[in-house]
Amino acid sequence: MIEVNELTKRYGSTTAVKDLTFTVRPGQVTGFLGPNGAGKSTTLRMVLGLHEPTSGSVIVGGRSFRDRPRGLRHVGSLLDAHDVHGGRSAIAQLSALARSNRIPQRRVEEVLREVGLAEAARRRISGFSLGMKQRLGIASALLGDPPVLLFDEPLNGLDPEGVRWVRDLFRRLAAEGRTVFVSSHLMSEMEHTADQLIVIGRGELIAAESLAEFSARGTRQSVTVSTPASAVLRDLLAAEGATIHTAGDLLAVTGVTAVRIGEIAMEHRIPLHHLSARSSSLEEAFMELTADSVQYLAGDPQ
């Protein structure tokens, strides 16, 4: 369990995180979503005691993480797969971590096998691909068999097989009753992984709810219609209060359900060639929700 309480972090005049309060519960995968620069990494660093909050607190497993003499048996983390020295081998990196926490050496071999790096264990990390570094970082997080796991953008650089493996791993860790907190800036990554979502933008909480509740936000249904009498149907739908965009022969209609469009067409004997309803995707719901808080927008005039 991770309890974040009115957490604020300022660097000089920049406020990276502001009054953030949420709880990450065990037994579920919780996605931590937000655009680039939203304050996800800063928050995770404060969870791990690496950065000191300006105000507020983070309690992990009943205690502030900084107060523990050794961490790996309490919280396993992967903040950045590049946070390793390229000159070391994977096995040296993990052995040093294990030894510092009195974790037996055989556990190092175990986690290396688990993440599929047993063959590459003695190679220098500088020769690893990003995906292999992610696997090594995940191995470090698993070393202490901890009840709480944090992962910052763990899917970056993984191949499709790796992505599926990570998802299954997260689900399994959560099913074992662990707290699994995974950050991402892509909704599509979380869609198939997370049970709960914490969404932040510009350092502030936007949403903390289940994936189901979040997807219900995407209520705006869009209906696509095609008819030879498009001008007639258009006027009829406009009279019903719908918003219509014309794209060639197709009409993209919002504000009226597909059922109602069918009824109107039948009343006026208008033949329909195509009628389909589409819920906006989670990605769209996410984009809509965070639109106001995107910090680095491409094409944004200075």
Binding site: R66, R70, G71, R73, V84, A92, R102, P146, A175
Partner: protein, 281 residues
């Protein structure tokens, strides 16, 4: 979804007691697993020993050109001990060990490994103390080997002209000890500067200033300047390897010079251990 809260609640409960020597062992694994560690120590050792042996060989080579009186004075003036560890060699060793000590910590800051380290061991002072212990121990062994080998080799070369001294000769052991111990003190200095500054290039500049420039700047011209100079490592080493009566208006004792070593070692160790405690990583 099936959940097993009970089992996970017990995770971390049977944690063994935290021991400092595990951190030392971990830091030792980190240091020895880097090829660059061995290259840096090895290359420095070779360079320092070569400087010393080269000077002795030069003496050996040009011995026939010396007058009889000159040859007789050679041992009496303690010159074999000066050649046991030359000023050039000590400069090379000081700068190299300062850099090696700095890299021991900068290697973690520049790669981001420091975050992985502190996320695994939130007791930062303990981590830094363990790292300090390992760097000190390794560089002390390095210093002992290099100073011992330099003494043995130079005196063996000079023995070819019957001008070599044994380690039992008055002041010989002090030359070896002062040169050997300079290695860990310089490594600690580099490490402390690196821990405080945390950026590679600025650390290297500061390290060169502390180790090389300050002893050059403070000369024996004025009393205050002489005192400031005596507080530098290079001048302390020069005092310790000095044989015969000191040639300065402001003489000082070897006890004072050893104190300078001790103060540098303690101050830099404290800086290295405590500097990470309160800062964001």
């Amino acid at each position: 979804m099936t959940t097993t809260y009970a089992a996970v609640d017990e995770l971390g409960a049977d944690e063994p007691r935290a021991r400092f020597h595990d951190l030392v062992a971990a830091e030792w694994i980190k240091l020895r697993s880097l090829r660059s560690t061995w290259i840096a120590y090895g290359a420095t050792a070779l360079a320092v020993i070569a400087f010393n042996a080269g000077t002795a060989y030069d003496t050996y080579n040009y011995w026939p050109e010396r007058s009889a009186a000159d040859r007789a004075d050679f041992v009496r003036a303690g010159i074999p001990l000066q050649e046991a560890f030359t000023a050039n060699a000590v400069m090379v060793m000081m700068l190299a060990l300062g850099a090696i000590g700095a890299v021991a910590i900068l290697g973690e800051y520049s790669t981001g490994t420091i975050r992985t380290t502190f996320a695994a061991v939130p007791a930062r002072r303990s981590v830094m103390a363990a790292k300090t212990v390992v760097v000190t121990a390794v560089s002390t062994v390095f210093g002992a080997i290099v100073a011992g080998a330099s003494f043995g080799l130079t005196q063996a070369i000079l023995d070819g002209r019957d001008a070599g001294l044994s380690i039992g000769y008055p002041g010989a052991l002090r030359v070896v000890a002062a040169s050997a111990l300079l290695a860990p003190v310089c490594a600690l200095t580099g490490m402390a500067i690196g821990s405080v500054i945390r950026h590679t290039s600025a650390t290297m500049v500061a390290s060169v200033v502390a180790i090389l420039v300050l002893p050059m700047v403070f000369t024996d011209g004025r009393h205050w300047s002489a005192v400031a100079g005596h507080a530098t490592l290079y001048q302390a080493w020069s005092r310790l390897v000095e044989v015969g009566s000191p040639r300065t208006d402001f003489p000082w004792t070897t006890g004072g010079a050893w104190t300078v070593y001790a103060v540098w070692a303690l101050t830099t160790a404290v800086l290295a251990v405590t500097s990470a405690q309160r800062r964001d990583q």
